[in-house]
């Protein structure tokens, strides 16, 4: 099953992964997880606050669409995505992606692919606040390149 959600409150990746992996059948040999955390620095600037704006309804639908695409590409049926929105404290989880599959290659590929999609195509608008004020952030060139490499 593909489960995608946006959380306006902090969430516990450990509890979510425990719940996700408890649903595995005895054909499941691999669970891969990625957790992205809010860093205290971004491109060598200190970050005191991160805000992620989303478009309720549309953002969830887009994330679900991206997860379905990544799952279909790598034949992974069980994917979990939880993405934070709102004001996020340094050190808090921003995104959790988890996949399960019979063998490890598919789960790794699905999680990495979905992270690449999310980094460039998820409908979020990110504002970082630091000592020199607030800045809206767009995807990095590196993110775009990874995304394009994937598309080949």
């Amino acid at each position: 099953m593909i489960r995608a959600s946006v959380s306006l409150e902090p969430f516990s990746p450990d509890a979510e992964v425990a719940r996700f992996s408890s649903l595995r059948g005895d054909g499941c040999g691999a669970v891969v997880t990625f957790i992205g955390y809010c860093r205290g620095r971004s491109k060598n600037r200190a970050v005191t606050q991160l805000e992620l704006e989303h478009y309720p309804g549309f953002t969830e639908a887009e994330i679900s669409r991206l997860a379905t695409a990544a799952g279909e590409k790598h034949d992974v049926k069980d994917l979990l995505v939880i993405h934070r929105a709102g004001a996020i404290a340094t050190g808090d989880p921003i995104v959790l992606v988890a996949a399960m599959s019979a063998h490890r290659a598919a789960a790794f590929a699905a999680v990495e692919e979905l992270m690449d999609y999310l980094k460039t195509d998820a409908p979020f608008w990110k504002r970082e606040t630091g000592p020199d004020g607030a800045h809206w952030i767009e995807p990095t060139a590196e993110d775009r390149i990874r995304r394009e490499e994937r598309a080949k």
Binding site: L52, Y55, K119, R127, E138
Partner: protein
């Protein structure tokens, strides 16, 4: 009533994230809607004309000035996505 939504830096320019408006009957497309908004707020008009602005009509991504907004309940203007 039509709900207009502005995200990211467009929210800053518009001064708020959401506006409820009564669209005049002669506004049938995204291009006409932008012109109408620009008439009241030149800064917002310029920001909406900039490159990379996506338009979502009733939760469906619909790009191009010719896209119809007739009967739409919700029209969102999205600047380039930051990604997750």
């Amino acid at each position: 009533m039509t709900r207009l939504l502005f995200f990211g830096r467009l929210r800053d320019v518009a001064g708020q994230g959401e506006r409820l408006v009564d669209l005049p009957a002669d506004i049938g497309t995204v291009g006409e809607l932008r012109a109408w908004l620009a008439n009241e707020d030149a800064d917002l008009g310029a920001a909406l004309q900039a490159g990379g602005i996506h338009v979502v009509v009733d939760q469906v991504l619909r790009n191009g000035a010719a896209v119809s907004v007739r009967g739409a309940r919700e029209i969102a203007f999205m600047p380039p996505l930051s990604g997750g």
